[in-house]
């Protein structure tokens, strides 16, 4: 981005910013990553803490949405049981592209404490849906979740819609 030199330009009094399409679109996208309002287990409590005023995930443009149709990111916040796995996959498929997944906590990363005797637990949500960022912890603190969110923002910033559209 660069500001035009005011002296040489014909639109003297207006503020004109020049930027690339990718940069502009990505900047808009990463600043309004709407989150699906969706919690699975105790990690959801930390997600709620991150959404509340103290950690205020809203300052990153993350707004909880009640529908997968309006969401850009899905936080898998907690233990994915086998019963929930097919539902999670359905919700993922209902989200419009481009979509991003944050796997939050040990359970959804790899099964967590249920890795051996959890007959009912999916050992990692990446067995059913693709994951962009894994946030370790049991449960991760809100700061860790925010770090994960910023990693997604970094990923969005580097993507190019124009080139992939060809």
């Amino acid at each position: 981005m660069g500001l035009l030199d005011k002296h040489d330009n014909p639109f003297d009094s207006s503020n004109i910013v020049i930027t690339g399409t990718d940069t502009l679109i990505n900047w808009a996208r990463l600043s309004s990553l709407w989150m699906m309002s969706f919690g699975l287990a105790c990690c959801a409590i930390e997600m709620m803490a991150a959404s509340a005023s103290h950690y205020d995930i809203g300052r990153f443009g993350v707004i909880p949405r009640p529908s997968p149709r309006q969401s850009d990111i899905m936080l898998i916040s907690g233990t994915v049981t086998l019963k929930m796995a097919s539902r999670t996959k359905l919700l993922y498929e209902q989200m419009p592209d481009p979509k991003y997944i944050i796997s939050m906590g040990s359970c959804s990363n790899c099964g967590g404490p249920y890795w051996e005797h959890g007959y009912h637990v999916l050992k990692g949500v990446d067995r059913v849906i693709p994951v962009d960022v894994y946030v370790p912890g049991c449960p991760p603190r809100p700061e860790a979740l925010l770090e994960g969110l910023m990693k997604v923002q970094e990923k969005v910033r580097k993507q190019s819609l124009a080139r992939t559209a060809v």
Binding site: L82, A85, C110, W115, Y119
Partner: protein, 166 residues
């Protein structure tokens, strides 16, 4: 009325159908909550419970907890913890059935809140409750195979195309 007096009263009413009295050691709380009477005939449990509820001197109007145990010797047990809320009395009953023919009489028409607890015992331990109005799985999906809290339960390799082991 002490628990042994209640037991004697039961024994007087049902005779051979009531087995031994198992007095627990430990604190007063343990003695009160964990001592139990055997019911030898699993089909008779409803009548015993009805008597405990309707006999004016007893008045056990609440089923605190219905739990199931795999004893590991091819027998399963169902434990009933009862409370008489007005008289502040507690009593426990235990029924033991063979694992390959685990059928116990339902107490849903004695205490309606036994309904879901019996469904859970069916889901987890495979104990069939005769006379239950709606004996379906309550936690796992309908197409789940087996009853996972039994000691001889084999973990599935796949469930709906999802790999289960770590």
């Amino acid at each position: 009325m002490t628990n042994t007096e209640i037991y004697d009263k039961l024994k007087g009413a049902f005779g051979e159908k009531i087995g031994e009295w198992h007095e627990q050691t430990g604190s007063e709380y343990m003695k009160r909550m964990s001592s139990y009477a055997d019911v030898t005939d699993a089909g008779y449990i409803r009548d015993v419970c009805l008597y405990l509820r309707d006999e004016p001197t007893l008045g056990f109007d609440s089923l605190l907890l219905l739990s199931s145990v795999d004893n590991g010797d091819n027998t399963l047990s169902v434990v009933y913890h009862l409370e008489a809320r007005e008289k502040k009395q507690y009593f426990a009953l235990k029924v033991t059935v063979p694992a390959d023919h685990a059928v116990v009489g339902s107490v849903t028409d004695v205490w309606s809140h036994a309904n879901w607890q019996e469904r859970e015992a069916w889901d987890m331990m495979g104990i069939s409750f005769q006379g239950h109005p709606d004996l379906r799985r309550i936690l796992l999906d309908e197409d789940w195979v087996g009853h996972p809290l039994r000691k001889d339960y084999k973990y599935p390799e796949f469930y709906r195309g999802m790999k289960v082991p770590y």
